[in-house]
Symmetry: C2
Subunit: 196 residues, 2 copies
DNA sequence: CTGAAGATACCGACTGGTCGGTATGCTGTC
DNA sequence: GACAGCATACCGACCAGTCGGTATCTTCAG
């Protein structure tokens, strides 16, 4: 519908993904999107507002099919989690950009959380949704005898999300596929210990 | 010994810790350290060189007593790892700056790895040393019957370091002590599963 | 069907300020 | 007088953001 706005959003996402939010330039974004500074500030009243829009309109929607939706299927949550991690690791290792740039949400989280409360809260909500999806899947798995009753689901979900951030963060620094696969497999073995 | 240089290093560490490397200003650093830009460029020929010096002369040395040295004691490596994590979590939760700013090495790793190969390699080496220390401790634990022989030590070390990055990264975004303790405890339970 | 009125969607030159970096000068010590 | 250890003044590039203006589309009265 709103073509210019969408082009700006997409160009801004790429610019910030590559250079960070602080390092990203609105001039570059205008240039790359084919729009002008005037158009940019017509749709977003500040650089920060543009950043918020990227979190909510670009990054979050793109994360759902990878990290949230798979958990809704009613099979074995542990096997689902393992498959989800293995698939996302495999997918991202195939993308040279992902290997060197890591996870866009995590990047913004690390860069902007201490600097801008609005960023922090929006990103926090995003991770909370993911943790909640994991807790729900594990709890429902308990009911169906797929997960040990003694598992502290909140703790486990916190650890899994932390692992995810850490694994993708490690990839960004090391660019070592082996290391990413290794830590993914170790996580899978941890998940196995949660089975009855 | 070299007092002005040290003051610049310390001020630069704080500036970059708070604002990121790209966001940090050499003017602020000169001002805060009481030195001038002339002095700054006398000791460091560029902003990048100043950053490298911080990694190797400020951040890395400060990480050793927290993350490497404890692993050298010859007791039970799993209990040592658990105690190390619990202690570092407790310590950092007590520091409001750590809670909101996270781990300085991880911050630089995330921000600078894709932008500067020199940064990336220096930081990579730092994390490799940590992984190696964990592998060595676990292997030596195997020998002494403290760790299951079947444990894939490289994989586990990769996961532990990733967890560490993720837990501290999560803290930076959420500022939620509970969440940090929860994921720490979940990690401890995972470590317990490595015991014979 | 016409046309005035207003809203929306841009355009791009411009501004004040900050940035990393440099050129040059001064000062004390050996 | 040579040289380390600064200090000061300054540079061009770049930055986020502004502003006066225009072109086009929507609305609605006559």
């Amino acid at each position: 519908m709103d073509n210019t706005r969408d082009r700006i959003l997409q160009a801004a996402f790429e610019e910030f993904y590559r250079n960070g939010f602080q390092g990203g330039s609105l001039n570059h974004i205008a240039e790359k999107s084919g729009a002008t500074k005037g158009a940019l500030f017509h749709y977003f009243k500040s650089k920060a507002e543009l950043g918020y829009a990227i979190v909510e309109e670009v990054i979050q929607p793109s994360g759902n099919p990878r990290w949230i939706d798979p958990l809704k299927e009613a099979g074995d949550p542990i096997e689902t989690l393992k498959a989800m991690f293995r698939r996302n690791i495999r997918e991202d290792l195939a993308s040279t950009e992902m290997v060197s740039q890591g996870c866009p949400l995590n990047n913004l989280a690390q860069e902007m959380s201490p600097l801008d409360e609005e960023f922090r809260m929006r990103i926090k909500r995003s991770y909370e949704r993911q943790r909640k999806a994991i807790v729900d899947a594990l709890e429902s798995g308990k009911q169906r005898g797929k997960v040990k009753k003694s598992v502290a689901t909140k703790e486990v979900a916190a650890l899994i999300v932390a692992c995810q951030m850490g694994i993708w963060g490690t990839m960004r620094n090391t660019r070592d596929a082996q290391l990413m696969i290794q830590s993914g497999e170790a996580l899978c073995r941890f998940l196995d210990t949660l089975k009855p």
